[in-house]
């Protein structure tokens, strides 16, 4: 018989998976977008501030720009290690049960 996805969807385990996924990706997405637009607005409206020298010819603007690279790499690494540990095992469990039911 075919799987009743509504039953699976309502199940405790699936709801936990969905909650876990959304409670990570939504706040992180909001955070990096806020940080990106804060940077864009500074670059757009606070030229003097961005031009403040920090050392040698390196100024705040350059450091904040490079900071965008650092946070992008960091969020990527963080998400992957989190998803591998917290998301995949639960998703695999539910999938295995669904495939069992299909047989």
């Amino acid at each position: 018989m075919s799987t009743d996805f509504q039953v699976t969807e309502q199940s405790e385990r699936f709801q936990a998976l969905k909650r876990r996924h959304r409670s990570f990706v939504f706040p992180v997405a909001v955070a990096f977008l806020v940080w990106y637009f804060a940077y864009v607005l500074l670059a757009d409206y606070a030229h003097e501030f961005m031009g403040t020298p920090v050392f040698g010819n390196v100024n705040i603007g350059l450091l904040l720009g490079l900071g965008q690279f650092v946070t992008t790499f960091a969020i990527t690494t963080w998400y992957v290690s989190w998803a591998n540990r917290k998301l995949d095992p639960l998703a695999e469990e539910i999938r295995a049960d669904l495939e069992e039911a299909d047989k």
Binding site: Y36, F37, N57, N59, L62, R95
Partner: protein, 546 residues
């Protein structure tokens, strides 16, 4: 995006024959690989999705190859060389955008779809109208992106091959287009992917070598490099802080926010990027692909920062602007300055390979969308064999290739900057809202999807038509020509070059309004099925084995 300025040709540096020779070698080698790789192309999954047999790292490299277009290589280097910090802002937007794809889109799309973006969008909504809308936005985005690449090729030709007359440039565009058609026709997605992988590796290694070289010239001291770039900048221009290019007036400041919005939200809605997620066997590999892509693209953009300031310091903005190809000649001129004719030839060949690979990726995406979504699902209502569908896709490849060649020839010498920016703005306004709503909002309805896709598309194009990129742009005192596409008339009333700040919120709002006003209830069983499949990967097609 960045302008492929078309300054009057003066001289050509380097050895055109050597430039052509190295590029020809690239074509021969990749063609051999494409033919080898395509021997197993049998099914639709083989042709459209490379049998889902690529690994995450391979696909991630190919994504970088697809994404790092000639505009992002030549354009960003040139913008940093001439305008300093403001050029850097582009690369940050292009990179941060990948987090949207990583966190919200890539894995869920991979699990819920098979070949195209429309597979996911039409999953739980009314098939035919939604598929049709998604295919139309896909084709429009691909078309504008394709045209920009092909027209950009014309500018490169005059710079690198010393061909300055329109006829000769048109001929080269035709040759590039013909080679691309062969790749896609013979190789399908598998061949296209290999071309992109090889090109990405060459581009990143080439840029890396030049970066180390530039840093070595400045004693591996970033501050010294920045100082040298500032020293040769025009009087009174601060190339180390933002504001040299934007931030002159209130309008240009808002224009910049609009561009930033389109860049960061457009990437995850670009159909040729989305389609790449179907070439891997699982969502986990799709995740790994994005990780590889983010590292490759990020490191490449860090290279362009050094190369841009290096070109400013070593070649000088004055010489770059006077060269044929204008700002786009910064990277090739820097290569010539560092390593003479051989280095220039290598970088030129890489630039051509870049155009070829990006155009191939766009063409197969557009052809798949037409054959799979419009021909098989809407026209034939699903009553067509997979073979018939792939045959249609191949015919479409030839048609699109010819359209791209003709469009590229006609668009020669035009200001093509707006085409890519428009592609990103449309992707962000018409595609991304529907993608996010479909994946995360259970109540999202067919009407919401149609309003959002057609509304986002329509508003973006409407605003562009009445913006300064089409008519009434500022007149350049040196040439007496306007920066607009059409000279001599002025019917613009929308002040911004990029429509994103209006059209993107409009796309989201229309999707919301269409859904809350819709009377038709979507099937909750299919909605539950999509949710379960997208998060668990149940029932997703894996790799085909031969």
């Amino acid at each position: 995006m960045l302008p492929f300025a078309d300054a009057a040709p003066v001289t050509t540096v380097g050895e055109p024959a050597l430039n052509i020779g190295i590029f020809a070698a690239f074509v021969v080698i990749t063609l051999a690989i494409v033919i080898r790789a395509s021997r197993n192309n049998k099914t639709a999954a083989d042709y459209y999705a490379a049998g889902r047999s690529f690994t995450g790292p391979q696909n991630g490299t190919a994504i970088a190859g697809d994404y790092l277009s000639a505009a992002s290589f030549l354009g960003i280097c040139g913008a940093i060389a001439v305008n300093g910090y403001d050029g850097f802002l582009y690369s940050i937007g292009f990179l941060v955008a990948w987090l949207v794809a990583l966190l919200l889109v890539a894995e869920l799309m991979r699990n819920a779809g098979r070949f195209t973006m429309a597979d996911v969008l039409a999953f739980r909504l009314k098939q035919r109208p939604v598929r049709m809308a998604a295919a139309i936005t896909t084709l429009v985005v691909c078309f504008f992106y394709l045209l920009a690449q092909m027209a950009g090729a014309g500018g490169l030709v005059s710079l690198l091959l010393g061909i300055n007359d329109k006829l000769g440039q048109g001929l080269v565009i035709a040759v590039v287009g013909a080679v691309m058609i062969i790749y896609v026709l013979v190789g399908g997605m598998k061949g296209t992917t290999w071309v992109q992988i090889i090109k990405a590796a060459l581009l990143i290694v080439g840029a890396g070598v030049m970066t180390i070289w530039v840093l070595a010239v400045h004693n591996f001291n970033l501050s010294e490099l920045l100082g040298a770039a500032q020293a040769v900048a025009p009087e009174g221009k601060d190339v180390l802080s933002p504001g040299a290019q934007y931030g002159l007036t209130d309008v240009s400041r808002i224009d910049f926010i609009s561009l930033a919005l389109a860049l960061v939200l457009g990437t995850a809605g670009l159909p040729h990027v989305l389609m790449r997620f179907y070439t891997v066997p699982t969502a986990k590999e799709a995740r790994r692909s994005v990780v590889w892509a983010i590292w490759a693209i990020g490191i490449f953009y860090l290279f362009t920062l050094v190369l841009g300031y290096g070109a400013g310091a070593l070649v000088t903005p004055e010489k770059i602007l006077a060269a044929p190809g204008g700002v786009n000649s910064a990277a090739p001129l820097l290569a010539f300055e560092l390593g003479g004719t051989v280095m220039l030839a290598v970088i030129s060949a890489i630039a051509f390979a870049t155009i070829l690979a990006v155009v191939a990726g766009l063409t197969i995406t557009a052809a798949t969308s037409f054959a799979h979504d419009i021909y098989a699902s809407v026209i034939k209502k699903g009553q067509v064999s997979a073979n018939g569908e792939v045959k249609t896709a191949r015919i479409t490849v030839v048609v699109i290739g010819i359209v791209a060649i003709l469009g590229g020839i006609l668009a020669q010498g035009q200001n093509v900057a707006f085409l890519v920016a428009l592609a990103f703005a449309i992707a962000a306004s018409a595609n991304l809202p529907t993608i996010l709503y479909s994946l995360f909002w259970k109540k999202f309805s067919t009407r919401g999807a149609l309003w959002s896709m057609y509304g986002g598309l329509g508003i973006a194009i409407f605003l562009i038509i009445f913006s300064p990129v089409v008519s009434g742009g500022a007149i350049n005192p040196a040439t007496g020509l306007s920066s607009s596409m059409i000279q001599g008339v002025d019917f613009h009333w929308f002040p911004l070059n990029n429509p994103g700040i209006i059209s993107i919120p409009a796309g989201f709002l229309l999707g919301f309004l269409g859904t809350v006003t819709s009377r038709r209830r979507e099937d909750p069983a299919i909605a539950a099925e999509m949710e379960v499949r997208s998060l668990t990967g149940h029932g997703a097609e894996g790799a085909t084995s031969h």
